[in-house]
């Protein structure tokens, strides 16, 4: 196995509160911070001017396999991840069939072994078939390799089912991840309710459709002691509910997407279906509240909710097009451009929310550059100016609201388990 010496980069390892210019060795698939004096590198990478970070973790990715391989596959989705500096992704189980059995988890893990270029951690559904009725076999699924449970895409409306899910999750101290949406309030809504939706004549999705369910989840988590994670939080009120619940010790966490941090409802003004997502993007006041929540620690994680769709599906009228935005390949560029460069957030803070924090919530041994850790590393160039070209994305999908836009900051190399799998826009298919 190639021994790499990453020379002279800015090492950012939030798990160890490390931020310094130093060399980093990747030896036998592991991080070596104190290599033996006699060690000779096979390859030296000049990392001056680059960030050397733990490989990023995306805890919310739709890989679409099995079932919708026309939108994305484990092969294509993990390549998009690698191009975005991600070395670990969590696969959402709303596939066809739904991942709700040990067989399903085993399909994901075995297919990942042959096809994936980054680590894939599968979630299992909370309820069988994501129908919101009967719980899946949490114990069996965890043993098979699930790292958490979610019915994402199909909100659990029944409070009793959610209560039991959270209560049962205590047995294993595992994480329940909820897509918070009151389906009655949101019915027919295609963009955030408000002035622009009224102007465009599009059915509004009211902010309370989310915050009511967030409040419910906080209450049930407090009542049962189960760990709840709110996915893709999008409103000011939701952030405030989570902030207050955390202050009184409720085991509630949440994530926010780059698109909710970078865009406002204005992105829908031209009926652009690439800005159509669920939960829909809100106004500037919500965006600012999300950034505030990210800075004060209420929001611990940034996750992309990478949701690929075919061009044919997105090339429809706004009402008919499916919800979703692809986000892994643009995540670092968008966040660096929107949060770091204007001085809203430091790079170490940003990286912590994409490495150490999700690893801690998921209880996976990732997201660190500690000596001996798996050599999952992202080299990020915070100064590189580039234009998002939909034809050069590694995802099968093109539903990206930043197509054609200029971003500052780009991953330049990605290592998974000590292997260089991505460099300067190209996937280096490893023999694995």
């Amino acid at each position: 196995m190639t021994t790499y010496l990453l020379q002279g980069g800015r090492i950012l390892d939030p798990a160890n509160q490390r931020d310094e210019t130093a060399d980093l060795w990747l030896v036998e698939g592991r991080i070596a911070t104190r290599p033996t004096a006699s060690l000779q590198p096979d390859e030296v990478l000049d990392c001056r001017g680059l960030i050397v970070a733990p490989g990023l973790i995306d805890m919310h990715v739709h890989l679409r396999e099995p079932g919708r391989e026309d939108k994305e596959t484990i092969a294509s989705g993990t390549r998009a991840a690698a191009a975005g500096g991600f070395t670990s992704v969590c696969a959402i189980p709303n596939t066809t069939p739904v991942i709700d059995s040990q067989t399903g988890i085993k399909f994901i893990t075995s297919r990942s072994q042959t096809d994936a270029v980054v680590n894939v951690f599968p979630y299992a559904a909370v309820t069988k078939g994501q129908k919101g009725e009967e719980l899946t076999e949490f114990g069996d699924l965890l043993q098979a390799g699930a790292v958490g449970f979610t019915d994402d895409g199909r909100p659990i409306m029944n409070n009793q089912v959610m209560r039991r899910a959270l209560e049962y999750s205590v047995t294993f101290d595992t994480l329940i991840l909820d897509h918070c949406e009151d389906l009655n309030l949101a019915e027919g809504g295609v963009m955030r309710e408000g002035e622009l939706a009224t102007r465009l004549g599009l059915r509004g999705w009211p902010s309370v459709a989310e915050s009511i369910q967030v409040a419910r989840d906080a209450e049930l988590s407090e009542f049962t002691g189960g760990r709840i994670h709110v996915m893709h939080v999008s409103t000011r009120a939701s952030v405030e509910i989570i902030r207050q619940a955390r202050a009184r010790g409720v085991r509630i966490s949440c994530e926010v997407t780059p698109h909710h941090l970078a865009l406002t409802v204005e992105a829908c003004r031209t009926y652009s279906t690439n800005a159509k997502c669920n939960p829909p993007i809100g106004p500037e006041s919500d965006r600012l509240a999300l950034i505030e929540g990210l800075l004060d620690g209420t929001i611990e994680v940034i996750a992309t909710d990478h949701a690929p769709h075919t061009e044919m599906e997105k090339d429809l009228m706004f009402t008919d097009a499916p919800n979703g935005i692809i986000g892994m390949e643009t995540a670092f560029g968008v966040l660096n451009t929107v949060l770091v460069r204007p001085g809203l957030m430091t790079l170490p803070d940003l990286i912590s929310r994409m490495t150490a924090n999700p690893a801690r919530l998921l209880r996976i041994d990732k997201g660190t550059l500690s000596d001996g850790a798996d050599a999952d590393v992202a080299l990020l160039d915070p100064e590189q100016v580039w234009t998002v070209d939909p034809e050069r994305l590694h995802s099968k999908a093109r539903n990206c609201p930043w197509n054609g836009q200029q971003l500052v900051g780009r991953p330049v190399a990605t290592f998974v388990g000590g292997e260089l799998i991505y460099r300067d826009g190209r996937i280096l298919d490893p023999a694995r």
Binding site: E195, L202, F318, T319
Partner: protein
């Protein structure tokens, strides 16, 4: 860039993107075309050799006929497509149809569609000019323009004029186009209806919002009454037609307490006895029939002005 006699748009998708100057330009041209009606030969050769296609994904005999008549009076050739849509393939049908129309060399497409934004999608795909003849609950620009034309003709102008729009504003494309046109032209617009159908977001449109009928229409110079759709009852936007009529119906009795020269408008088709009494709809204050006449003139103006903006390969 545009001068004072052209539109700066290739398509007419909504009134929101028109300037006050452009609205005035359309109204001025409409005045000229209306004169054509009074001649024994009601036809001018302005669009000879051009082809106008009406593409309706939703039934509307009135609007379609009005556009077809407008096109014929400009000497254009007209063809019509009506497409029944199923809920699954609406989008694909639209794109496919657009390609077909493109291949037939059509110059102007007049489109009606049940979904907001559909003409915007079409306009990005075709070389032809697209005229929105009503999209979902978004806009119905020619209706807004013909209502403005009718008001100008009867009232002389817009400055300081008080116009009340009464009814289901939330679901009305006619209301949106009227709001856009009238506020740009300087009228004072008041929206009237229950708070479910006139939500507070409308206050951001530069209009006054009230939920009390008499408060909204007492000082009005013009009342534009919208059709109330029974199906909104099923989703609890209002509890019953009976209560709606009691609270917001423009009745004979209410008419008596309004300005003596009050002008009553309705885009049609009218639900007599629901949002408006028969006697009011057919009475001396009503301009409902003039609206229909003016509709043809305004649509001639729109077709004429957009034809002038066609790419040179499509010009004579």
């Amino acid at each position: 860039m545009s001068d004072a006699t052209t539109l700066s748009h290739r398509h007419l998708l909504d009134v929101e993107s028109l300037s006050a100057r452009e609205i005035h330009l359309i109204l001025e041209n409409a005045r000229g075309f209306k004169e054509v009606f009074t001649r024994s030969i009601k036809k001018v050769p302005a669009l000879r050799g051009k082809t106008v296609c009406t593409l309706f994904f939703e039934n509307s005999t009135r609007t379609r006929t009005s556009f077809e008549l407008a096109a014929k009076r400009l000497s254009a050739d007209t063809v019509s497509f009506s497409i029944a849509t199923s809920s699954v393939n609406k989008g694909e049908t639209l794109i496919d149809t657009a390609r077909t129309i493109e291949a037939m060399g059509i110059d102007l497409i007049v489109m009606r569609h049940p979904e907001s934004g559909a003409p915007h999608l079409l306009s990005r795909r075709v070389r032809a000019s697209v005229i929105n003849a009503g999209d979902g609950t978004h806009e119905h620009p020619t209706q807004g323009l013909l209502d403005a034309y009718t008001i100008q003709e009867k009232k002389g102008g817009f400055e300081g004029l008080k116009v009340a729009i009464v009814g289901d504003i939330l679901h009305s494309r006619v209301a949106r186009s009227n709001i856009q046109a009238l506020t740009k032209l300087g009228a004072e617009v008041t929206l009237v209806g229950p708070s479910t159908l006139v939500p507070r977001t409308f206050a951001q449109f530069g209009v006054r919002v009230t939920h009390q009928l008499m408060e909204g229409i007492r000082d009005a110079d013009v009342i534009n009454i919208l059709r109330i759709q029974r199906e909104r009852m099923n989703t609890n936007f209002f509890p019953s037609i009976r209560e709606y009529r009691l609270l917001y119906g423009i009745t004979r009795e209410r008419l008596k307490s309004l300005k003596p020269d009050i002008m009553i408008m309705h885009p049609g088709p009218v639900n007599r006895g629901v949002e408006i009494d028969q006697e009011v709809a057919d009475g001396p204050h009503s301009v409902i029939n003039e609206q229909v006449t003016n509709g043809v003139a305004v649509r001639m103006a729109v077709l004429y002005l957009l034809a002038g903006n066609l790419p040179s390969s499509q010009r004579d």
